[in-house]
Each structure stands twice: as C-alpha cells, then as structure tokens.
Amino acid sequence: MKNPFSAFGTLFDKLDEMSKGKKVMATTVDAFDTFIRTPKTRTTGSVHLRDALDSKRMMSTVILALAPVALFSLWNTGFQKLSALQNVPGALKSGFALLGTEPTFLNCVLHGLWQFVPVMAVTYAVGLGIEFVVAAVRGHEVNEGFLVSGMLIPLTLPPDIPLWMVAVGTAFGVIFGKEVFGGTGMNFLNPALTARAFIFFSYPGAISGDTVWKAVDASKDALVDGFSGATPLAIAAATPAGQCPVAALEQAGFTLKSMFLGVMPGSMGETSTLLCLVGAAILVATGVASARIMVSAVVGVLAAGGLLNLLAGDASPAYWHLPAYWHLVMGGFAFGAVFMATDPVSAAATGIGKIVYGFMIGVLVVVIRVLNPAFPEGAMLAILLMNVFAPLIDHFVVQANVRRRLRRAQ
C-alpha cells in the first residue's frame, strides 16, 4: 500500500530546489521535509551504519510519556473548575453556561481544554517561532527539543495564567535557558523550568493564586488555588507547632490517596503522582530517561524527610512531623523528578554523578519546603539549583578518572 503522505514528496522536492541558497527558507523547508519523510542523508566517514533512533523519535517518546499526565490534567482542570463553581450561580461565561455546571466527564474535559489549549498554543507558537528563527540564523537544522519543553511548560503552570505571561516566560526560557548557550544539548538549565521560574519570580501574583478565576470573585477562597500544590503544602506549613499536619491535611480532603491519584487543584500537570509513575515507567522501559536519577531523588526525599521526622520535637514546626513519604505525593515533586530532573542535557551525565544529582534534588525539595518559610514548594528550585551543580558533580567524577590515569603512570 502506498503511503498517503508520499504525495508530499514531489512538493518537498520542489521546495528543496526553490530554497537552495536561501538560508531562512532552507532550514524551514528542511524541518518540515524531515518531519514528513526520513532524511536522504547517508553515512560518511569510517562508520557506515547507524541506529534507527534519532532525536525526533527520542523526543516524541518523552511526549508520549507525558500524554497520560496531560490527558488527566484536561479532565482534572475542568473538574476542579466546575467543582469550585458549583455554588456560584451565573459565574460561567456565556458559551459554557449552556453546558451547565454539572461535572460530567465531557463537561470536565471541555472546560479543561478551554483552559489548557490556549496556554499550550501560545507556548508552542512562541517557542517554535524562536527555534525556527534561531535555526535559520545559525544555519542549523531545527531542533526537536522544544516539542518536549512546549508540552512541559503548560503542565507546570496554573490553568488561569494570563497568556501574555506564558508568552514572555516561554520566550525567556527558550532564549536565556537554551539558545544563548548554543541550543538544545548545550544548555545547562532545563528550558521549561527556566520559563516557569521566570514567571514565578516575575509575576508571583499570577502564579500563586491571587487572581485565579476572575469571573467568580465572590468565592475566591473556595476556588482552585493555582499555586503548585500550595494548598496542601500551605496547610502543612500552617499547622500549629508540635503537631503532625496529617490530621489537618486529611481534614481538608488531602489524604495520601487523593494526592497520589491527583484529583485535586494544582498546576495543570503535576497533581497526579500515579500518572507521573506511568510516565516514569515509559521513560525507564525505553531507556530514554535515567531511572537512577528518579530513584535517588525519591531516596533523597525520604532521607531528608526521615531525618526531620527523627529530629522533630514538641516545639518544632508541624512540617517537621509530616511523614517523609507524604512529600513524594505533594506538590510538583513527582512531576519534576520524572520529567524535569531527568532531562539528559541539564542533568548530571556520569553514573555516580546521576546518583548524587538525584539525591540532592530530593534533599533540597524537602529542605526548601520545610525549612524555608518563603517558598512552600521546592521542586522547581531544587531541580534548577542542581542543574547548575550538575556540571560540577560530573567534573569531580571525571577528575577521579583523570587522577586514576595519572596515578597509573607513576
């Protein structure tokens, strides 16, 4: 059977011909050409064979691993919105009013799409636009890296984030998180997290929930809190000293189970630990992401959390008493450890380095959450901080190899 897309072949042959010598057009045509069909390049040099895996398939595997999280987030975002609107008659804007406020599955997904799609569309439009321009200027092929970043960015943002902030944040993340260093593969920070951090620090009001759901001002307090898992984290932080916050959390409806499943408010993609685990399984089974980093991050959380549990006395803040494993399902830790910390470019590269890097992320998540009063959530900052340290960790591992070589010579 003939592939229906082969009809594009002649079109692209013509476009290839037309774009010869025109740099901007050539990179753009090449990007679409190699998207539709495999490149015509053959091996040169001494090695005549190549593995079938290319960066396109590798990146799309990450997107595939993100799919369960993204699909769930559509439903959950809609569900949270509708649940919050239950008691606010007339709060829905015109179009949705017809559908009613019943949180049926279809209704939830539609509301979720209404929130998610614009954010994603803006992210991809801005990010890919920059990628195409930069590729044309440099005369490189267009990189696939942003296909993943463009999926990650909306999932780490609250559903109500103003779109212009998404655009500015994405542009900052792509340009200063990546392109200034030479593009995908040369960056040392995860571009998606850089974008989120930029929005977080530039527009704290928008991301921490002050202006959520403008349509329904009256019931602001009861509504979706856009801040990354801030609600359970805030409850834990606010519990009186000397008590374990578990009771308070459960009273507020945040049981271990509900947070594991993720039917709760939060940034769009990071509520469900279960679906992050599904993504982790896909990434590890295919070998695309490092299980070492994920496992050592979990160990890091348990170690730091466990240590605080041991040290906690009657006078210590309530957060110290929270059982360490609760940290695993709260906030953005699971999403960060699976999809952000394992970014192969910004993570540590050496075997031992990965263990140290992952472990330190886990420790820092707990330290920032529990010991730092300014930031109730630590996953984003912990990963970015360890991104910065990853080259240093690798340096020590490599230097050990160098010293071994020098010693051998004596």
Binding site: S46, H48, M186, D394, N401
Partner: protein, 453 residues
C-alpha cells in the same frame, strides 16, 4: 595471563556473514599502494611511472624512517602515480603481469630467527615491506623500530560484525604463525596474545613465550583498543604495537620463503555481496577483482567492516592491513510519515539498540541487511551517557568528545585521548541518537594531539 569478560558493547546482527569456504581468486590486474592507510606518515616515492617492478621491489619509503618501505606484491610495472593537492601522494597503481617474478630475500628458519638478533631481524622485515603491518599506539602510526614499545598486542579474534574470522584465516598457517611469532618475540620481549574465550586453535592457545589472554563478550571485545585498556593501558609517553594473528603468519610466510607474500586471504561479506566467502586474493587487489566483477550500483563497498572501514570504488584497491571487504546496500528510499521505518512508525523493520522499536520485541533473532542511511538529523549531544554505555574502555568519552573542539591538548591528554583509536568508538557513532560521528571526532582530536607531541 587473564580471562576478561567484556560487558559493555553490542553485537550488531548483520546479515551476510562470509561462509567458511576458502577459494582462489584470479590475480588482480592492478594493485595499489594507498598512503592514506597510514595516518601521520609521509612517503618518498622510490619508483617512477613505467618502471618495471618485481614482487618485493620497494615502491615508497616512509620519510620518518627510510628503512620502512612498502614493497610491491606483484611483478609488472608502475602503472600510474596519483597525486593530489600540493603533490600529496594519493596512490601508486601497479600493473600485474602475472609472471610472479620475485626478489629473493633469503629464507629464515626458526634457528636463524633465534640467533640473528633484534637489529638484523628488524632490518630484514623492513626490507621485505612487512614492517608496516605493525601499528603503533598512540595515533596508529607505523611502528618506530628505534624505540622499544611497552608491549606488542597480537589480536587473534574478531568481534566486529562481518569481520574476517582470525582463526579461520590461520587454519592452515599454524607453522607460519609460530615462526612469525618467534621473530616478533626477538623484537619485542613482552607480547600479549589475545584470543577468543573458547578458542581451541593449538598454535594460539599453546603459544610459547607470550602472555595468552582470553576475551569474551560483545564487540568491541575483539578490538586491540579494548585489550590494551584492560591488560596494560597506555600511559603518557608509552607506546604499544598491535598486529593481528593473521598478519603474524604473513611475517612467518615471508621469513620461511624469503619472498614477499603475493596473496592474502580476504573475507567477502555483507548483505549486498553476491558471492560471499573467504578468498585468496592478490595483496592490495582491486575491489572489482575481489567481488568478482559484481556491479556496485546502489551498493557500498567497504574495505574493513560496515562498522569500521573505508568506502571504496570498484577500481580502488584494498589496503595492506584489510582482511575483509563488505558490500552493503546504499540507502535510496525515503520513508514517509507513519510508515514503519519513519520516526513515527512502529519500527518492525527498523534496527535499533534502543527499546523504542517494535523490532526489539519481535525480531531479536533476526539478521539485518542494514543500509547506509544516516536515519536522522545531526544534533548536539543530547543523551549524555550513550558513549559510556557502549564502550568498555575506562575513558570518559562524552566529556572527551565535547573537549575536542576546544583543542586544549593538556586536557585531552588527561582525559585519555591517546588511549583511543577511531575504531574503538565506532559503536558509539553507530548508537548515538544525535548522529555525532564519535570516531571522526576522535580522529580530529588525535590530529590535534599529534601536532603538539
């Protein structure tokens, strides 16, 4: 004396292995000397176009040591001298008249080899043009006879896909091997002989005066780079020599007969080869002669193996050290969106070392007729640990490859660049999803390093 188990590596299951049958080929009408086979070496021509040559007539001498010569493997005349930019010598083509008239260098038996002394032996091997079979690390240069190496590594195994089986090449040549080995022992006292685990070839297993090591595991378990790194890694300032067991037997043949060997065995393999097998071919023979005149349309002929070798045209000739010629299909097709071999496809017909293709689930036992497709676009290194996954060497490859463009010689030395040859990292080139040619990067790095030393 050691048994080594190589864990990191990979055997690419290629279709078209050469069946173990040995046949004679008609003599090649033309043979050539290709200086490109010897990196970092400059040559001085000793003949002019039209000169008559015998088997054993020196054709060119290495400028670094004029005692090292390349000798004609055929009798006839100098057909053509090809020069490139700035009169760089590209190739010397010799016409074979088939008479086989040979210079007699005098036969040496075991007793004479034992009593002649190192210098006489070195001079004898150099005069006969056998010396260039020895390769010196670092840099893969010709062996420098004036400086004793730390050790000589004789490789009696092959793990590269479609490579020529050393034990089969040696089958009837045990005596030649033993004589050649004896001569090399006079020249280099420390010899490591590396054989396949489970090898039962007597002349190898019971070789006298050498350290016999066995290696098992996936490719590159059979590469000298792996053997050296595991047995006695090269430190700064040290040199080691390498040679294959079959080449040792060619040295033995030269000593015993007193004549430069005219023929060598070449394996013809690869999914695109029509007549596969082992052939006794003229040394330095033309590809068209070796492949029996098979047309090379949409076929790539490679001297060496598809994993590491030199692409050749039908009229080109194999090099002095090549033991196999492989023919594989050139990629001519482009696969479209959602097609099986497209990056969005299931991948039943796409070979990969990654668990990302259906072929990994259903076709584990299958042999593959891989083509020359690059299968993707070139990118910066994204997966930072692939090279270490496919290399058993104790060298931080990813860090090293990234450091090479910087050209900081001291850093490159620290990271162990001089322990490598491009061949050692061919598997990394194969597996890299960013399509970085690691072997080529290492070659560039060695060129930087060599300039400084």
């Amino acid at each position: 004396m050691g048994a080594f188990q190589v864990k990191k590596g990979f055997d690419i299951p290629l279709e078209g292995e050469a069946p173990r049958t040995l046949r004679d080929l008609p003599a090649s009408p033309l043979v050539a000397f290709n200086p490109e086979e010897f990196p970092f070496m400059k040559w001085r021509l000793l003949v002019a176009e039209g000169d008559a040559v015998k088997v054993g007539t020196p054709i060119a001498a290495a400028k670094q040591d004029e005692n090292i010569v390349f000798c004609s493997p055929v009798a006839g005349s100098v057909h053509k001298i090809v020069r490139g930019d700035r009169r760089k010598l590209l190739s010397v083509v010799l016409k074979n008249d088939g008479s086989g008239e040979a210079i007699d260098f005098g036969a040496w038996d075991m007793a004479k080899v034992g009593s002649a002394g190192r210098d006489a032996l070195v001079a004898h091997l150099q005069k006969g043009g056998l010396w260039p079979l020895l390769k010196q690390r670092p840099f893969g240069k010709l062996a420098d006879a004036s400086k004793a190496p730390k050790a000589l590594f004789i490789n009696a195994m092959e793990t590269a896909p479609l490579g020529a089986d050393q034990e089969f090449l040696l089958a009837d040549r045990a005596d030649e091997f033993t004589l050649g080995l004896q001569a090399l022992l006079e020249i280099v006292p420390t010899i490591h002989l590396c054989i396949r685990q489970g090898c039962s070839f007597g002349a190898l297993v019971h070789a006298q005066g050498v350290d016999v090591h066995t290696f098992a595991g996936p490719h590159p378990a059979g590469l000298p780079g792996t053997h050296i790194n595991m047995i006695s890694p090269i430190n700064k300032g040290e040199t080691v020599w390498t040679i294959t067991a079959y080449q040792v037997s060619l040295i033995g043949e030269f000593l015993r007969t007193g004549k430069v060997p005219e023929r060598q065995i070449v394996a013809v393999a690869g999914s695109a080869a029509k007549d596969r097998g082992y052939f006794r071919a003229t040394r330095g023979a033309q590809i068209s002669n070796i492949v029996g005149g098979q047309p090379l349309e949409n076929v790539r002929a490679i001297a060496g193996t598809p994993l590491f070798g030199t692409a050749k045209g039908a009229d080109d000739c194999i090099g002095l050290r090549d033991a196999s010629v492989c023919l594989i299909p050139e990629e001519t097709e482009r696969h479209y969106l959602l097609g099986d071999q497209h990056w969005t496809g299931a991948g039943f017909h796409a070979f990969s070392t990654w668990r990302l293709f259906a072929s990994r689930l259903c076709c584990r036992a299958k042999k593959w007729a891989l083509s020359t497709a690059l299968r993707g676009g070139k990118r910066a290194i994204i997966q930072q640990d692939v090279y270490e996954r496919f290399s058993p060497l104790d060298v931080p490859l990813t860090t090293l490859v990234k450091a090479i463009p910087g050209g900081d010689v001291e850093r490159l030395e620290q990271l162990g660049l001089y322990e490598l040859e491009p061949e050692d990292v061919a598997l990394c080139t194969f597996a890299c999803p960013s399509k970085v040619d690691v072997a080529e990067e290492i070659r560039k790095g060695l060129a930087i390093l060599e300039k400084e030393v």
